[in-house]
Symmetry: C2
Subunit: 380 residues, 2 copies
C-alpha cells in the first residue's frame, strides 16, 4: 500500500492541510493538454464528471450533480442563493467557522437565517434541532457542516437528517472536507443538497466546486438566485440542454478531477479512502500523543480528516518557527482557526500515506528538541 | 518566429476559439506541482501575479489588480456587484452578447441599468454616449465591451472613456478578449475598472478572472456587494492584509497564469503579442477571402482577435460537417453567436502562429472541395 501512494517529488513539500492538498502525479499530468470547452471531447468529460460525482454521493436518479467554477465557498453561496427563496428561512447549525460562513452568506444575500450554536469542541445535538424546528414553522431549510474543517469535528449527519426530514424541511450539507471519504448517501439519507469541492478528499486540484442536489428542488428554484453566475438552476439546465458549461469552465481542473475520480474508484471507493485516512490519523494521533501534544477534540467526535492539536504551553514553543522548521523539512501544516484556544492543524487527507506521517513524527520530534535546546541549552 | 511558437503536440487539436485556447507547454507544465495556498511560496506567487496584471494594464499606483476564482463572467458580475451601489445606475453600451450579459447581470442583481444598443456590426458611437450622459444625470457608471467576442468588433475605448470622464462618471471595461494584446493603459485612459480572464490573450489556462480597479473606487465600495464570494473590496482587503486569497485559489491555474505573464514580458509585451495576432489574422482573412468566404465585419472595426465569417450560401455547405472535418484534421473552430446571420468564428489568439493558419487554410480548401464533390460529384 505504501508503494502505491508513494508519490512525492523531490524538493516539493507535502501538504498536510485541508486542501489544496497533495495530489497524485497522474492527476496533475491530466492538466497537460488544452481542450475546447464546447467541443465534444470536453462535453463527454463533463458528462462523466457529473455522473461520477452523483455516484460518489449515492445519487440514484433523484439527485443531479451540478459543478461550478471557483472555490468551495462559491458552491456554498450558489446553493444557498439558488435554493432559499425570499420568503423562506434557513436554520444554520454552527460549531465552527464554516457554519458561521453559511450564516454570513445567507444574511448578506438578504435571506432570512438564524443559528443554533455549539462550542467548537461539541457536536451538533439533533434534539436541539428537533426543538428548534418544532418551535419555528417558518424555517424551511436546515444547513449542517458534515466535518467542520475548523477542528476536524464530525457532526451526526444521519441523525440530523432524520430530524429535518421528519419535520418536512429541506436539508443542505456542507461536505467540503468529508465528500469522497466519509460516507454520504443521498439515496439512503434524506439530503436535499450536498456541497463539496474538487480539492479535498476527492484529491483533485482546486478550482471547482459542485453540489449534488435533489432534482425536484432544482426544478422549483427557477428564477430564485439574483446572481447569474451562481444560479445553479440555470447551470443545471445548461448541462442538460447541450452538455456544456454556461460559462468557460476550468478545463484542466475538470480533467484533473475526472482523473482523480477514476482513481477513487480503482482505489476501492470512499470506504477504502477512509481506511487510508484513518490509518494516517491513527499514526499521527498516537505519535503526537507520545511527543506530548494533546488533541483538541474528544475521540468520539473526531473525524480522521484533520487533527487539531493544542500548541504546547512550554515557554520555548513558538508556532511560527515550528511551522518554518517543518516546512524546511518538506511538511506544510496548517495554522489553527479557533476562537477559543491556540492550536494548529495537521491534515490527514490527500495522496499521502502512513510513511509520510512516520517521517513527519520524526521531524516534529527533532524540531521540538531543537527548539527546547535553543532556550535551555543542550542536555548533556 | 515560427519556431518559437511551434508548440503543438501530436494528436491534440489546436484551439481556434476565443478561449480556452491553445497554451504553451511550459504554461501547462507549471501546473505539475501542488502548493499550499497559505504558504509563503504561494503568497509570493500571488504578489507577483497581482503586480504583473496591474502592470499589463498600465497601472501606476492608483489601480490595483484583484484576481478572482472562476470564469470571466464571474469577474464581470463581481465588479458590477462591488462597484455599483443600490442608489446608482449603470449605462451599458451594447453591440453584442457580452454587452447584453452585463445588462442582464446588473438587472438580476437588482441594480438600476439601462442600455444603448447598436447592431452587431457597428461600433459604439461616443456621440450617442455623450447625449445619454447629458440627458440622464442619474447614470453613475458606464460599461463597455472593448472587443466584442461575439463578432471580433473593436469598440472605440479611448473616445468613450474621454466622454465618460468628461461627465464625471465611472467607466467599467470588459476587456476579456483584448487584455494582453490590444492596448489598455489605465494610467493614460480614464478607466475605473478593467476586467479580463486568464485564458485569452494572456494565454493562461481558464479558472481565474481579475479586475484592475481604481483604488479609490474599491475603498468606497465597502459593504456594497450582497455576495460574500464576489465582494472585490473584501477580496482586495484580504490580499492587502496577508497576501492570501480569502477562499481557496486554483493554485495550479494561478501558477500557469504567472508563467504565461512572464512569457508575455519576454515575448515583448502586448505590442509584440498584437503583432503576432495581427499576422495570424491577416493570413487567415486573406486566405479565406481567396476561398470565397466573407468577413462579417468591415475592416475598420475588426480586431485581430477573432474573425467572424458568413457561412457560405452554397446549398451543399453544412456547418456541422465542416466543423467535424476540421476537428478531424486537428483544428477546433467556434460556432457563431449572432442573432442576425449564420456565421462561424475562427480565433487568432493563443500560442499559435502563421504556420498554423497556413495549414488551416489548406485544410479548409480541401474540406470545401470534398463537401462540394459529395453533392455535385467529382469534377473531371
Amino acid at each position: 500500500m505504501n508503494d502505491r501512494i508513494r508519490m512525492r517529488e523531490d524538493g516539493v513539500p507535502i501538504l498536510l492541510t485541508p486542501g489544496p492538498l497533495t495530489t497524485r502525479p497522474e492527476t496533475r499530468q491530466a492538466m497537460l493538454r488544452d481542450w475546447g470547452s464546447r467541443d465534444e471531447a470536453f462535453i463527454a468529460m463533463t458528462a462523466e464528471l457529473r455522473r461520477r460525482l452523483a455516484a460518489v454521493a449515492g445519487g440514484r436518479g433523484g439527485h443531479v450533480a451540478v459543478p461550478l467554477q471557483g472555490s468551495g465557498t462559491f458552491i456554498v453561496e450558489a446553493t444557498i442563493g439558488t435554493l432559499i427563496g425570499a420568503d423562506e428561512k434557513l436554520l444554520v447549525l454552527i460549531n465552527g467557522a464554516y457554519g458561521e460562513r453559511m450564516l454570513a452568506i445567507t444574511r448578506r444575500l438578504g435571506r432570512r437565517a438564524e443559528a443554533l450554536r455549539w462550542p467548537e469542541d461539541q457536536a451538533v445535538d439533533p434534539a436541539a434541532v428537533e426543538r428548534a424546528l418544532r418551535d419555528d414553522p417558518a424555517i424551511t431549510h436546515v444547513a449542517l457542516v458534515h466535518c467542520e474543517t475548523t477542528t476536524g469535528l464530525l457532526n451526526p449527519l444521519a441523525a440530523v437528517a432524520a430530524v429535518v426530514a421528519s419535520h418536512g424541511r429541506a436539508f443542505l450539507v456542507d461536505a467540503m472536507s468529508s465528500f469522497g471519504a466519509l460516507g454520504i448517501d443521498v439515496g439512503q439519507t434524506p439530503i436535499t443538497a450536498v456541497m463539496a469541492s474538487s480539492n479535498k478528499c476527492l484529491e483533485g486540484v482546486p478550482g471547482l466546486g459542485f453540489a449534488v442536489i435533489e432534482e425536484k428542488a432544482l426544478l422549483a428554484a427557477k428564477g430564485v438566485n439574483p446572481s447569474l453566475c451562481f444560479d445553479l438552476h440555470e447551470q443545471w439546465q445548461g448541462f442538460e440542454r447541450n452538455g456544456q458549461w454556461r460559462f468557460t469552465p476550468p478545463v484542466q481542473v475538470a480533467a484533473a478531477l475526472l482523473t482523480a475520480l477514476r482513481r477513487l474508484e480503482t482505489e476501492g471507493g470512499p470506504a477504502a479512502r477512509l481506511r487510508r485516512y484513518q490509518e494516517n490519523f491513527d499514526i499521527l494521533a498516537q505519535g503526537m500523543t507520545r511527543l506530548g501534544f494533546q488533541l483538541f477534540l474528544a475521540p468520539g467526535i473526531q473525524a480522521p480528516i484533520i487533527a487539531t492539536f493544542y500548541q504546547p504551553t512550554a515557554p520555548w514553543f513558538r508556532f511560527p518557527s515550528f511551522y518554518q522548521a517543518l516546512a524546511a523539512r518538506g511538511f506544510l501544516i496548517y495554522p489553527g482557526k479557533l476562537s477559543q484556544a491556540d492550536t494548529f492543524r495537521i491534515g490527514c487527507i490527500g495522496a499521502i500515506g502512513p510513511d509520510d506521517f512516520r517521517r513527519l513524527l520524526v521531524a516534529i520530534a527533532a524540531i521540538m528538541e531543537e527548539q527546547k535546546e535553543a532556550v535551555d541549552g543542550p542536555v548533556h
